[in-house]
């Protein structure tokens, strides 16, 4: 018998942590996508060339 018994509580807490983590990653991706579109007007390559020039 394992000494470290995982309680149902730990599973719930783990699911919550994973859920919050994925939500935050998703939010960062959305904000990043929005920033790119707002800054470049949708044309990322043209904007990148403009910055290089």
């Amino acid at each position: 018998m394992s000494l470290k018994v995982e309680h149902e509580l730990h599973k719930r807490r783990f699911s919550r942590n994973v859920g919050v983590g994925l939500t935050l990653v998703f939010l960062i991706a959305v904000v990043f996508g929005l920033t790119v579109v707002k800054v470049t007007g949708g044309d990322f390559q043209a904007a990148l060339q403009g910055v290089q020039q």
Partner: protein, 315 residues
Amino acid sequence: MTDASLNGQTQSHEAEAGFGDYFALLKPRVMSLVVFTALVGLLAAPISVHPMIAFASILFIAVGAGASGALNMWWDADIDQIMRRTKGRPIPAGKVDADDALYIGLALSGLSVVMLALAANLLAGFMLAFTIFFYAVIYSMWLKRSTPQNIVIGGAAGAFPPVIGWVVATGSMSLEPWLMFALIFMWTPPHFWALALFMRSDYDDAGVPMLTVTHGRRVTRNNILGYTVVLAVLAVGTAFTSIGGPIYLTAAVILNALFLKGAWDIWRRDEVISDADNFAVEKRFFKLSLLYLFLHFGAILAEAVLAPYGLGGWS
């Protein structure tokens, strides 16, 4: 540490919520309707939006709707545990602490409004803030427990999403989004009153002054028919505006004929007849009302999507 404190700690741990419990606070089914109607409002607008901005805007409108759902659950926790329909919600079921629901609701409200204003425009952000305020404060805190007109006026909160979607695209108002608003606004009373008829004593037990409780079930049946007639005129009339067209007109005529028939059947019945078949007609009308709204907005969407190919609209 005493036995009592140990015991208390165990109980609080057992009440620890999972991610799904927090998500349930946001009323996902209501959110799906909000997402759909806001998307239709956005796509029916005459100005196109970059897909990323459209996606983010709809997302933040959905988050705002979810936030108002959490605030509603926080405020209504006492009556939710009395009503059969709502006693399985996260707070009355003991899965989420009421204070947590309040903090989540407030945090998501702020986040969604600020992000929508940044992603789309200030007017859209302001309208989302007003919608959350209307649902959480005007409807939940004030109207719901004080007047039988609660769901009539409160229905405005659910009717705003297509207007916000339109404002995301155009940055301004015009007649068309308000026609979509009116469609949901006039649809809400018959939809909820049909539910109140077959939920029987639920609202009564909880002390919510639904029309069935304050004015009786006969008056409720009369009102369902009255609102459905006005709704039918409005819904079919919308076909002849710039968001309508032959597809919408066909859908509206069929759906409103069915909806009127349902309302007429409800009006002709009394409690003895309804009891005999366990409110079969009322339940069927309620299910039809969900399809009714979905297909009307689906038809508006079809007109908007097909318009660039010369197939949608009247032109």
